[in-house]
Symmetry: C2
Subunit: 341 residues, 2 copies
């Protein structure tokens, strides 16, 4: 079967090709992809940072929604026509991480849409056990936010955010904003630190306290507004040296700091503060099955204002310009590629 | 009443003075100090690193044992002649940390023996609520190890070390060695990374696996001996950049790293590894009441070979040379000052 697909060709370029897609294998389903969002990782791939891992003939994309179009021979719990999202993780099942029940951070994790073919194409074959069924009521463009929202759910769950706690999110990009929304839904008081004034305005419009670390002492104001306590939970989503500094400064004694960001270099970290105030640092990567279920519930409960969060929807043919625009525009939140909805 | 006391006079010097000691206040007891060990912090004070905090007319010392010699008017649960140790923490009771039940890391903690008068003297008045009663059977020289052993208990408890887990202790000085002993008593398999060959030999004599990070790849050997898993728990007790690197390299996926060391500078830390393998970093400082109780039990159960661990016992008059020797000798474990035993 023919499928129109975007293929990453290296050096900030995509081609739109007609590809032959085989029928789904016995344990797979084939999906008519409806929407696929552009993730920060996709931008890194586009910019050539991950050529060694990805190659230059891959169809990428993993923040998707769609409808099952074909079902493999051994798949009995799914039917043609079912709206779905894919949890794009394919763990090895036998490494020490898998053996300990941490399949989502498998030592040899195959991330579908990075390490193997992804969702920027019309027809997509995936293992049936990666599928989460969507309620019919959910808009498919909104449903394509489930993957990044599951990242946020996982981060908030790793921190075990409790009602009434004071939370600081460092970095108000798409993931930081979703973390803030999920943490607020858990009953906490959330402040967002963000240097981009448009993102700061968007955060304020969503009802968050905000601070610009370039112009104000965010740590000082966190301590001031909590009567000297500080943030019970800090989410570091900036990936910057400044974020690595702010995280220890703003945290309360015994505060939990969640490392959501990808730090490409090794920043200086004030380990003395970890000792002195018994801070905790907790890594959070991707999601578990239950984070996906939770993300779906939160989306159905309108925790995310999807219409303002999705800043652009572009057809597959325009994927090249969509990536160009997103790279050039630090104000944007989520750009969706509309594929066959 | 007159009491012979060592007084820190700045610039690597002590004087031995006769001081007038008042009777204990209503809520205090007076102790005939028997032994007081020299702590790493005492060495920092001696070397002049903490003059601003300590001043140059303080009697320091807090790793002590002794016998109650007088009891304040309002103290009814303690009697003259009772052998005791002091948990040298005097929290404010009203800061956010105290309010949250973390008095041991009070924002305005008065550390008795650093911020106020300590135990390198014959007669010592302390708040009665800092007292832990000793069993008669416990040797008072050994009992003076309870304070550093409580640090180790607190660190191991913060990590929640479980039977069968693989543990790496980075730094085999007195605290690292005690952490290793407590972690082994909890049923874990402990490796000690230490660059000093004499300390490494001592660790081996105590039955620990050891590695010298200067000459071997300790992270690699941790992964090799655990079939690719790595250390479930890492205790960073070295306070060095090399230790900050080894801690993330040696840890298992979802491994817990406990920050026991005092890092005077901000080292480069591989935050990417925290994200990628969902590591945790957990600060551990001093001890809670229950850590002291546990330390006392472990000492009574001979978990520490006190006779080899205490490398020297010197009279109070020789405190100056004891500090000199300890500063010059990186092989030593614990030096005790014998005061009035």
């Amino acid at each position: 079967m023919e499928s129109k697909a975007a293929v990453y060709r290296g050096n900030q370029s995509f081609s739109i090709d007609k590809k032959q897609i085989s029928p789904p294998a016995a344990d797979e389903v084939q999906i008519d992809v409806a929407y696929c969002g552009i993730c920060g990782t996709d931008l890194h791939i586009y910019l050539g940072h991950m050529d060694e891992r990805v190659g230059v003939e891959r169809t990428i994309g993993h923040e998707m929604s769609g409808t099952i179009s074909e079902v493999g021979r051994e798949v009995h719990h799914l039917k043609k026509g079912q709206p779905v999202v894919v949890r794009p993780l394919d763990p090895c099942g036998s490494c020490p991480a898998c053996a300990a029940g941490h399949e989502h951070i498998c030592h040899s994790l195959n991330f579908i849409g990075i390490d193997t073919e992804g969702a920027f194409q019309q027809k997509w074959n995936v293992p049936a056990d990666t599928i989460h069924k969507l309620p019919e009521s959910l808009d498919l463009a909104h449903a394509a936010l489930i993957e990044p929202l599951a990242v946020a759910c996982h981060s908030v769950n790793r921190a075990n955010v409790k009602r009434g706690e004071d939370v600081l999110v460092i970095g108000g990009g798409p993931i930081g904003m979703l973390v803030a929304l999920v943490a607020r839904h858990a009953g906490s008081n959330v402040t967002i630190a963000e240097i981009n004034s448009n993102r700061q305005s968007y955060a304020a419009k969503l009802g968050f306290d905000t601070g610009n670390p370039d112009t104000t002492d965010v740590a000082k104001s966190m301590h001031a507004k909590t009567n000297g306590k500080g943030a019970d939970v800090v989410f570091e989503v900036s990936g910057s040296q400044a974020g690595a500094e702010l995280m220890t400064q703003a945290a309360a004694t015994r505060g939990r700091i969640v490392m959501v960001a990808i730090h490409a270099t090794k920043p200086n970290v004030d380990l003395f503060q970890f000792f002195w105030r018994e801070l905790e640092l907790i890594g959070a990567r991707v999601y578990r099955k239950e984070d996906y279920d939770e993300a779906m519930q939160l989306l159905s409960a309108s925790v995310v204002d999807c219409d303002s969060f999705i800043t652009d929807i572009k057809p597959l043919e325009d994927i090249q310009s969509a990536f160009q625009m997103l790279t050039a525009n630090p104000n944007a939140m989520k750009t969706m590629i509309k594929i066959s909805a």
